[in-house]
């Protein structure tokens, strides 16, 4: 059924190139995660305000980010905006697409986390003379980030995996792009993608395990 002779040496000779790709993949994921968290906090605050336009912006963003394929979001960040004459490089397009997706999902996580924090805390802060912003910043926000820390690592893993969609917008320097290039060159499809799969697995595993360690250190009572 599956008669194929694996030639691991041929594929492993290309491992250094793939590891370079893995570095780019990590880069995209980490930057998109940091930006995603910032935007998600903004979106969460927008949702808390009584301003209609701000509410609308946040809701639209979150709805699109959560209810359309990540592939669509990345494709739009490249080919979609280009039809308005705005050109982003493949790297930037991928970064924008993933950041957009991250922010939408994280904003929902944050909203869930906020629900777990009683309103009375913010009001107690204000009764001590803090402004609403101060009480959010010093009382609510730290707790919110703590509660949503593990869901955030989920999103980080998802961000790593989403980088593989970069090939649709012409990205060839990330792990998946590099693998696809090498595949075109050698046709050693199964070996190359198996190695790529292992690298992806190791990266995400390291991230989830280290997140657990960090959580255990940061959040002990």
């Amino acid at each position: 059924m599956f008669d194929y002779t694996f030639q691991w040496k041929q594929a492993l000779a290309r491992l250094p190139k793939m590891l370079d790709g893995a570095v780019i993949t990590m880069e995209v994921a980490i930057i998109s995660m940091l930006l995603g968290i910032l935007f998600a906090i903004l979106l969460t605050m927008f949702r808390q305000t009584k301003s209609r336009p701000l509410n609308a912006i946040a809701t639209t963003w979150i709805e699109i980010a959560r209810n359309t394929p990540a592939l669509f979001q990345i494709y739009m960040a490249h080919f979609g905006v280009a039809s308005f004459g705005i050109h982003f490089s493949p790297f930037t397009s991928l970064l924008i697409g993933i950041t957009f997706n991250n922010a939408g999902y994280l904003a929902e996580n944050f909203r869930g986390a906020l629900k777990a924090i009683p309103d009375t805390q913010a009001r107690a802060g204000q009764s001590l003379g803090m402004s609403p912003v101060q009480s959010f910043r010093y009382i609510v926000l730290p707790q919110m980030l703590r509660i949503s820390f593990l869901p955030m690592t989920n999103q980080m893993v998802w961000a790593i995996l989403m980088t593989s969609l970069g090939v649709t917008v012409g990205m060839n320097s990330d792990l998946y792009g590099v693998t696809q290039d090498l595949n075109a060159l050698t046709f050693r499809t199964f070996e190359l993608f198996a190695i790529a799969g292992v690298i992806f697995y190791i990266i995400t595993k390291v991230i989830t395990l280290s997140a657990r360690l960090i959580a255990a250190r940061l959040f002990r009572y």
């Binding site: 599956f2 008669d3 280009a82 090939v167 012409g170 696809q180 290039d181 595949n183 075109a184 499809t189």
Partner: protein, 270 residues
């Protein structure tokens, strides 16, 4: 006595199973009554879809001819460029009729027939750029379809050129021309047939074929599993017969038009 009969029966069964397992790909195709071809349907005029969404093109006709020669029914399996080999290795197709360049690197993995078509490469540029030749692409952002002969060759040139030159592989021919029309790419290298078809289609404005690319002639072969000698031999003879009977010229005229490229290398066998 009974024991012996049973043993004899088992041995006979094993014998039959043995011969069955030795049937090669060619036998499998003939007995299954179906030939499954991997064809790229995003590569006009070699493979594309008509208004009824039915696959048409040079490669599609070629697959039908091959099936007719084998006396079986043809089944076109659409495979994008990067997925041709997985489709073959996972046994979803029997043969690739997918405009596949027969590079030595690839021939380490799959078996190629003698060339059944040859491409010439041209540069298509967006109007308003100063690109008039292959060399003047230096310092520009250029692209091609990931996994193709021209993409591999172009990327090598771009890496050599350096300073500001950038190479972007897109997943489909349509995306490449879309990016070119949008101004995300300054130029692309593709087969002359594809370039002409896309410029003529009028789907993408502001692009024109400006020069030919100095790559070696891109010979493409049919491909099958490397160890299926019986089948690969058949494919070689089939390609030879297509040319001998004038069917190659006929198909070329139908889908491409113009001078029919020679499929032989002067001064060499095969």
């Amino acid at each position: 006595m009974k024991k012996y009969t049973l043993t004899a029966l088992l041995l006979a069964a094993a014998g039959f199973a043995g011969t069955a397992a030795q049937a090669d790909k060619l036998d499998d195709i003939i007995s299954s009554g179906k030939l499954r071809c991997a064809v790229v349907l995003d590569f006009p005029p070699m493979g594309m879809r008509d208004e009824n969404n039915e696959p048409i093109g040079f490669d599609v006709d070629y697959c039908n001819d091959l099936a007719a020669a084998l006396g079986v029914e043809a089944e076109i399996v659409e495979t994008p460029f990067p997925e041709r080999i997985p489709a073959l290795m996972s046994n979803r197709v029997d043969v690739g009729v997918a405009s596949t360049s027969d590079t030595l690197e690839r021939a380490k993995t799959v078996g190629f027939s003698i060339p059944y078509f040859a491409f010439e490469m041209v540069v298509t540029a967006a109007e308003g750029t100063d690109i008039t030749s292959f060399e003047s692409m230096k310092g520009h952002t250029v692209g091609a379809v990931a996994g193709t002969y021209e993409a591999i060759a172009l990327e090598e040139y771009v890496n050599e050129w350096g300073d500001g030159s950038e190479f972007r592989p897109y997943q489909t021919q349509a995306d490449v021309f879309l990016a070119l029309a949008q101004g995300q790419l300054d130029a692309t290298v593709s087969t002359s047939t594809v370039a002409q078809a896309n410029v003529k289609s009028g789907n993408f404005g502001g692009i024109e074929v400006v020069a030919s690319a100095p790559f070696d002639i891109d010979y493409v072969g049919l491909f099958a599993k490397r160890d299926e000698y019986g089948f690969l031999n058949y494919l070689d003879l089939f390609v030879n017969q297509q040319i001998r009977t004038g069917r190659y010229d006929e198909l070329y005229e139908k889908w491409v038009g113009g001078d029919v490229p020679s499929l032989t290398v002067p001064g060499a066998y095969r």
